[in-house]
């Protein structure tokens, strides 16, 4: 483990730009996340929230700008460096991205086994524990992802993301597609990961209740930039007309 200077942000994005052909998605994103902090990103559909997470993970390469994790530059990092940095992360993909050729228990433990057939009995127990944390029973251990409901798939994917106990976890819409009770259970899980285990969390959500519950700080992405960020209590009196319109879900306002 490399010593990280005190006061270094866990994650820092500086003027990150990402285009797909003519489609300019990120246009100078600046965002900093402190160790142990939980930040929620809100913003309209298609504004580049998922793209932002993928740029941090090195799954997409920004056209310009800088991304650092514990002070180490990610953009342009060699693949060996990048895979070492990635061991810090867990990622819940928006669509789940479960491996459909494997049963649930092998999905959940994939981050530990890297696909190897190590100690199946132990791994099944690990899978069971992690499924329990997301409110799923051991009955589904042997099922394939396509035999599960959408909400169950999401929670299995969540279990897979947290199973290796990463220090930073990204949640891309963790409560979308869940009923209100299950959604609140996931909110509690994220809160306890941050408060009890000291995890740094970055969550994309369209669910304002969830954002206020799980995040210390909320940032809003609009037109390729972070146009506002502030503590969660200020979400409903941000003084920013874009944020106001968004959190109140009004069709009329500066955002069209």
């Amino acid at each position: 483990m490399m010593a990280v200077a005190k006061g270094t942000p866990k994650i820092k994005l500086t003027e990150v730009v990402k285009r797909f052909g003519d489609n300019s998605v990120l246009d100078g994103v600046n965002l900093s996340v402190e160790p142990g902090e939980s930040v929620a990103i809100i913003g309209g559909s298609g504004t580049g929230k998922s793209v932002t997470l993928k740029c941090i993970l090195g799954l997409l390469t920004p056209d310009s700008g800088s991304v650092t994790v514990d002070g180490e530059e990610v953009v342009g990092a060699r693949s060996r460096e990048m895979s070492r940095i990635r061991t810090k992360f867990g990622m819940l993909f928006q669509g789940g991205a479960l491996f459909d050729s494997m049963p649930v228990w092998r999905n959940v433990t994939f981050g530990l086994t890297q696909g190897r057939m190590t100690d199946a009995a132990h791994m099944r127990r690990v899978a069971e524990e992690n499924l329990e944390r997301v409110g799923l029973s051991r009955d589904i251990l042997n099922l394939r992802p396509n035999e599960l409901s959408g909400g169950m798939q999401k929670r299995v994917a969540l279990a897979r993301a947290i199973a290796p106990r990463p220090e930073i976890i990204f949640f891309d819409e963790p409560t979308t597609g869940l009923d209100p009770i299950r959604a609140d259970m996931i909110n509690d899980l994220i809160t306890s990961l941050v408060e009890d285990l000291g995890v740094t969390a970055l969550t994309i959500t369209h669910d304002m209740v969830s954002a206020r519950k799980i995040a210390n700080r909320v940032a809003m992405l609009y037109n390729g930039r972070i146009i506002w960020h502030g503590p969660r209590d200020r979400l409903y009196d941000s003084g920013n007309p874009y944020v106001d319109q968004f959190v109140q879900g009004r069709a009329d306002g500066p955002i069209r």
């Binding site: 799954l59 990622m91 981050g111 890297q114 696909g115």
Partner: protein, 265 residues
């Protein structure tokens, strides 16, 4: 008029140049992909279990279709030569040409094309679906190298499986010709076998094995390259699958010609 001529010539060059540049760029990408696969194939971590699964998938489950192709082709070849070549000494030419035809040319090419149709498409569809559903990204975030975990086992299994299958197909094809010659054309079994053995050269068998290994590499490369570059949902997966099969077919036939010319001069 005076200016339109150079302009039209320039635009003609541009019309040729753009696809040419695109083609060179594609060849470059495929070369980088192949090189990456080779490097990752010889550096750990290795996934022997995944390799075994792919060997079964590519080799074992392709055997029925390969066997049928070989026996039909071998028999048809015997009949063709008998009818077309009866002016000459049929009892010598039929077994000789069945052996040459199967071992040098038809065995490798037909097996290559059959397996390309069956396997390159499956690889492209599977990897393409994993790409568009972000399973490849998920693999990366779970600290697993998609090249080593998914692509190397497929390409390696395909390079190993094809020569074995071609040897099997050649034997079955020769047997198909033998059976037809004995039961339909009334050849003498002992002398047919003796002629077959005489014309079965180890150089030709080597050529078949080399061709098969090259075809296996092409099948794995085209299946995995097209699959892992898929974009754009279900339609993208369909396109990747078609591209994989068509490009594998063309490259197999082209490299067959190349190897044949180089070996026989």
């Amino acid at each position: 008029m005076t200016e339109s001529l150079p302009a039209s010539i320039l635009s003609a060059f541009a019309a040729i140049g753009r696809p040419a540049i695109a083609m060179f760029a594609m060849i470059g990408r495929i070369a980088v992909f192949a090189f990456t696969a080779l490097v990752r194939a010889v550096t750990p971590p290795f996934y022997p279990a995944r390799f075994g699964t792919q060997l079964m998938e590519i080799g074992w489950y392709s055997l029925p279709v390969v066997g049928l192709t070989a026996i039909f082709t071998g028999s048809a070849l015997a009949q063709q030569i008998y009818t077309g070549g009866s002016r000459f000494d049929a009892s010598a030419t039929v077994p000789a040409i069945v052996v040459f035809g199967m071992v040098r040319e038809l065995g490798p090419v037909l097996v290559g094309l059959m397996v390309a149709g069956r396997v390159a498409s499956a690889m492209a569809a599977e990897l393409g679906t994993m790409r568009v559903t972000e399973q490849l990204d998920a693999l990366t975030t779970l600290r697993t190298d998609a090249f080593r975990y998914l692509i190397v086992p497929r390409m390696a299994a395909s390079v190993i499986a094809l020569p074995i299958m071609v040897l099997i197909a050649n034997s079955i094809g020769i047997m198909g010709g033998f059976l037809l010659a004995i039961y339909k054309l009334g050849f003498n079994p002992a002398s047919y076998l003796a002629t077959t053995r005489k014309f079965l050269q180890s150089d030709d068998i080597w050529m078949a094995v080399v061709k098969a290994a090259v075809f296996g590499f092409i099948i794995g490369l085209m299946g995995c390259y097209n699959g892992s570059r898929t974009s754009g949902g279900a339609a993208g997966v369909g396109k990747a699958t078609t591209d994989a099969v068509v490009s594998a077919f063309i490259l197999i036939l082209f490299s067959d010609l190349l190897i044949t010319i180089l070996a026989l001069k």
